[in-house]
């Protein structure tokens, strides 16, 4: 009943794939991966979190946003407003209270959607993301003019990211090693910065419990 299912959703710019976890009834979590390289590093971890949420009776969706994952939109055509519009369109089709769960720069994507709440793990601003991208490019042993660790990004996207900040969160969770303000802190390593990240089953379970508790208190 709670195994992952492949599905699709439509937005103004086309059709994209998504994964569904857990029950199709009741409040829903729509999860957002970070952008670019950090998405690859945290995907297995986020899926582990969504499976743990399913085990707690909470259904969730992990969409491929236009220009990410299996999307037919090329990375160089990826635009921040499109990510936001596609996310909002998906949320708009669900007809139940929706809670966004975003990791890192995924928090830049949920601002246009009508949501019951926004939960974030170590949210990252667009400016900090650009700093990371530029440092990775500078460190690259094979620099090419438009490439950021294999991602070809448009000037429009880079300009949009410069000033992008996450929309006000309902709950922000960070790792114990992060000294900046948070609603809760949990022990764990920042998988999004690891070259061989794997997953972290214990942290996924703890964070799923945090999300479930938060959904219960904010009324689902």
């Amino acid at each position: 009943m709670t195994g992952p299912r492949f599905d699709r959703y439509d937005w103004a710019g086309g059709r994209e794939a998504m994964l569904r976890f857990g029950p199709d009834a009741g409040p829903r979590v729509v999860a957002v991966l970070p952008l670019f390289e950090e998405a690859n590093r945290t995907r297995a971890f986020l899926v582990a979190m969504l499976r743990a949420l399913a085990g707690r009776g909470i259904g969730s969706i992990l969409p491929d946003l236009p220009g990410t994952g299996e999307s037919v939109v090329e990375t160089r055509d990826l635009r921040l407003p499109d990510l936001r519009q596609a996310f909002a369109a998906l949320v708009g089709t669900l007809g139940v209270p929706v809670h966004a769960v975003a990791i890192r720069s995924g928090a830049l994507v949920d601002c246009d959607a009508s949501l019951a709440g926004r939960w974030r793990l170590a949210p990252q601003s667009g400016g900090d993301l650009l700093r990371d991208l530029n440092r990775i490019r500078a460190a690259s042993t094979m620099p090419d003019e438009d490439g950021f660790a294999g991602n070809s990004l448009s000037a429009t996207l880079l300009a949009d990211l410069q000033d992008a900040v996450p929309y006000a969160a309902s709950r922000t969770v960070k790792l114990e090693s992060d000294p900046r303000p948070a609603d809760a802190r949990y022990p764990g390593a920042p998988l999004w910065r690891r070259s061989e990240p794997g997953s972290d089953a214990a942290l996924a379970e703890v964070l799923a419990a945090d999300v479930a508790g938060w959904i219960a208190t904010c009324g689902g």
Binding site: I136, A139, S177, D178, A189, P190, R193, S195, E196
Partner: protein
């Protein structure tokens, strides 16, 4: 001249933890690092992409900003050099 910074031991603990977390090194392996332990070029896990991640994570945990023109081979040569660099940034 060797300068000992107040709070260097906390910075050293943070540098050790960042190397363990970002490079996925075992706790015992990182605990055995001394000032002379070679890093860049000696640790296969520390490639150029990982250098970027280590420095960014150090910035976040220590609340410092590292400019691109400050990054050179010397600061990454040994564990001690990296700790000294981080301490200079964190403790001024």
């Amino acid at each position: 001249m060797l300068v000992i910074f107040e709070g260097t031991s906390q910075v050293e603990t943070t540098v050790r933890a960042v190397l363990a977390d970002i490079l996925g090194l075992g706790a015992e392996r990182v605990a055995a690092f001394t000032d002379d332990t070679p890093l860049f070029g000696a640790l296969p896990e520390l490639d150029s992409m990982a250098v970027a991640s280590v420095l960014t994570e150090l910035e976040d945990r220590l609340g410092i900003l590292i400019e691109d023109d400050e990054i050179d081979g010397e600061m990454l040569e040994t564990f001690g050099a990296l700790v000294q660099f981080a301490a200079r940034k964190a403790l001024v």
